[in-house]
Symmetry: C2
């Protein structure tokens, strides 16, 4: 059975819960020649941005550092959250508080490894969320960095 379409307020609350509670997301990226890439990575949400970490030499890091823009997906294919936003690159040691939060949220501390990792902080500009086709209308929750619900929801 298809559930009724959720309100903007409910979708926004659901998305914020996912941002706070989920551990993993799918990251799409591409190189300058237009070769697409896709991997799952763990993230932490700090109330304003999603931070992932991956080896500086990896395809995902190189692609995102080049594009300075990311499109990521949280949730399931029938409970979709799509986030697009700017990418800020942070070398290890830049923001110890964020690095501690990332390690606590993901269970993985890239500061401990032999390989050089980089943190990539994605600040959402566009957020969409839908479950089934009946929710495609009204799927936009954030546009140009602004939540569409009245007032900025508590993150």
């Amino acid at each position: 059975m298809i559930e009724p379409s959720r309100s903007l307020e409910q979708r926004t609350a659901d998305v914020l819960a996912r941002l706070r509670e989920d551990v993993d997301l799918w990251v799409a990226s591409a190189d300058a020649e237009g070769n697409a890439y896709l991997v799952p990575l763990s993230f932490v949400w700090d109330g304003a941005a999603l931070t992932i970490s991956t080896p500086r030499a990896s395809r995902t890091a190189r692609n995102l550092m080049r594009a300075e823009w990311a499109r990521v997906a949280l949730g399931l294919t029938r409970d979709v959250v799509i986030v697009e936003g700017t990418v800020e690159t942070l070398a290890i040691g830049t923001d110890p508080g964020l690095e501690d939060a990332h390690a606590a949220a993901t269970g993985f501390d890239p500061r401990a490894g032999a390989e050089e990792y980089v943190y990539l902080r994605i600040t959402p500009r566009e957020i969409q969320a839908w479950r089934e086709a009946n929710e495609l209308s009204g799927r936009q929750l954030m546009r140009a960095g602004r939540w569409l619900v009245d007032g900025r929801p508590r993150s």
Copy 2:
């Protein structure tokens, strides 16, 4: 608790079950300028290839028709199946049997709509599957179009 790492045979069987039984996957694509895109789409597995369908004018269709290569993900972020393969574009009416199978598997018949859809048939060349970090080793199940288990598994 982390489960023990699965054997190549078990992973291959699990992946084939997902290909037969799952309905949705994540499709990454990119345009010629290196702008990445990511959407969930429904698919059907015919034993040799995954077929999706999306409007011919959509970003995903345009990107995949250009690249003639796709990277898609099935499953969850902690039960990952990554498939990369060639993309063949089939206009509506090209393969009625496949179109019927797609409609039956996905519950959606693009032949019925007003907008022009296209079928994109992705033939796997590389398949990887893993659950947790302990399965990253041995994640390759297909290389250059050949399953790595002895003999070609029944699809």
